[in-house]
Symmetry: C2
Subunit: 317 residues, 2 copies
DNA sequence: ACTAATTACGTAACTAATTACGCGATGAAG
DNA sequence: CTTCATCGCGTAATTAGTTACGTAATTAGT
């Protein structure tokens, strides 16, 4: 075992796997030589796919063996030059290049099978001598990673840690500028400022808070980076709006935290439901709302031009 | 899982390992981006070796992390250009290029550790969820391969099968030409023909068989490819000689089979021991003789110039 | 002490894959 | 029925490593 693995811990799993697979590949190459089958080791998987005689398009082979189509294309070219493959056009679709084995290719088959048979037997024998079943272990790991890959898992940890840098506070007068700027910027990026915007954004204290609404401010590492508001329409109708998060802190879940805080606040204020208006072209936003529990509804027309979807969250209890 | 693995069986273990390790590497690359540590992923192992502050020569690092020295040399160059490493000459040996981390490199350490810590935790978690321990499985496999690698194992199988093509037969008049040619060729390749050679090779029936000796011929796939003889000197002294195997069938163990047959014959003829003469520069031959049980002795001077070593096999019973 | 072999390392050439890009063929949407 | 996105594939450029080779420094063998 390499010295480095004595210190890295399991983090280096990827490298160890690579190292082992490279060692196996190197030995396999020597095996190919031994059997004098006239196949370049790298042709092996393509040959394997075609040995039964079927004709397959490049991309289908690529997908089956886990290579890029470009790689298969190159290999097929080499094998064709060696007289092992031939290509034929697919009748219905002139784009498709179907390749299949030639008679010369077929003549290599018996040697190939003898060799792979021995190889198979050796690996079986080898795995039989192991207490821990590496084959099963790989399958398990594959399965777990399909569910949630390493990146996503590390990202969760990362975000957990990063959460300590996020702070939610109630709106105070000193946030007026940030509140306005963040929202203006957000609207300008996707739409145009409308008249109803200016009123709200320029005097939130009067237009939102004084009417029984609520504004929450998100800080990241001390500076204001996000806003969200509840706008009270009447005793039964309260709206979630003015959600804006600075681009530089996208992906940290700040939007979700802001939304959650507003939903909690609405509950606290004894509303039975919260509604919101948005636009279907803002896919990430819509997803966020869904994650918060909002469902699409058909409601009254919005005063904002940019809105073409309404959503509603009804509290269960 | 890729389609191909559904049919290949365990033979494709190497490819599966490679595939898994590549998937992990790809995800790891995304993790590096997330943490914004200014290290190219491929610098990772070198950085790991040097992060404690030690100065290490290129080859030492290469060996520890399992790369070629050329690769480490290139990486070190890049990292030096990035200001992360510096090199300093080793005092006693002007060939050695010791590299170590700079202050700038050290400044990356905290981010690096945070990241590797999270990574480690994730992998640990992942492995904890597996019933089959892939880490242990790799170690086991490593160990087994160190004992006898895949190539050697397959080769054993191959030779077993190939043995069916090898046939040992007693010398008959029809083998005279082959016997002479194989031996002439062998001697010419390494030495010069001497006078004692010609006599034996041109008339083996009289010079060897008539004097109570023995000649065995090896055929491979029907054609004569090897010879070996026992030359009777007197009632107590018999010599193993004229072992020649055609180059095209080297490595199939034909020499060993020939030798074994002659030794058996000597036993059958009631000799208590067999001796032989050879030359130390023929390492493979000497090894073969050792494998047959011969031990080096100091004997009488040989009639052949090419001989500088004598060996003896004494039967135990 | 001199020659030969070995060591450390850098550069160059090669390898086996990838991603990027372009082109013609196809199909979907107004 | 035309236009625009997408598909299949080939070629080019890139990448991360390897082996091969040359050179200078050191060690070993006579």
């Amino acid at each position: 075992m390499l010295q480095i693995y004595e210190n890295t811990g399991k983090m280096a799993l990827g490298s160890r796997l690579k190292q082992l697979s490279e060692a196996l590949a190197k030995q396999a190459a020597r095996v190919y030589q031994l059997y004098e089958v006239d196949l370049d080791p790298k042709w092996f998987p393509v040959f394997y796919m075609l040995k039964s005689g079927s004709c397959l398009p490049i991309t289908v082979i690529a997908e089956a063996i886990g290579h890029s189509h470009a790689s298969v294309s190159k290999i097929a070219k080499e094998m064709t030059a060696a007289g092992i493959l031939k290509s034929e056009k697919l009748a219905g679709d002139a784009r498709v290049n179907q390749v299949c084995i030639t008679d010369k290719g077929r003549s290599l088959l018996s040697g190939f099978e003898r060799q792979t048979g021995d190889m198979e037997a050796v690996v079986d024998e080898l795995l039989g001598q192991c207490q821990h079943n590496i084959w099963e272990a790989i399958s398990e790991l594959d399965y777990l990673l399909e569910e949630k890959d390493v990146f996503a898992r590390v990202r969760s940890k990362f975000l957990d840690r990063d959460k300590e840098n996020i702070e939610l506070i109630e709106y105070r007068a000193e946030h007026a500028t940030s509140f306005r700027d963040l929202n203006y910027e957000w609207i300008n990026k996707h739409f145009e400022i409308e008249q109803s915007d200016s009123a709200m954004l320029d005097d939130p204290e009067k237009q939102i808070l004084a009417k029984g609404g609520y504004i929450v401010i998100a800080k990241y590492k001390g500076s204001v980076v996000g806003t969200c508001a509840l706008i009270r329409h009447d005793a039964n109708r309260i709206e979630l709006a003015k959600m804006a998060v600075d681009d530089s802190v996208k992906g940290k879940g700040i939007g979700y935290l802001l939304g959650q805080r507003c939903v909690d606040k609405a509950k606290e204020l004894d509303f039975r439901q919260v509604f919101l208006e948005s636009n279907t072209k803002l896919k990430p936003a819509i997803n966020l709302y869904k994650k918060l529990g909002f469902k699409r509804i058909v409601g009254e027309p919005s005063p904002y031009k940019r809105c073409n979807i309404q959503m509603l969250l009804t509290f269960l209890d």
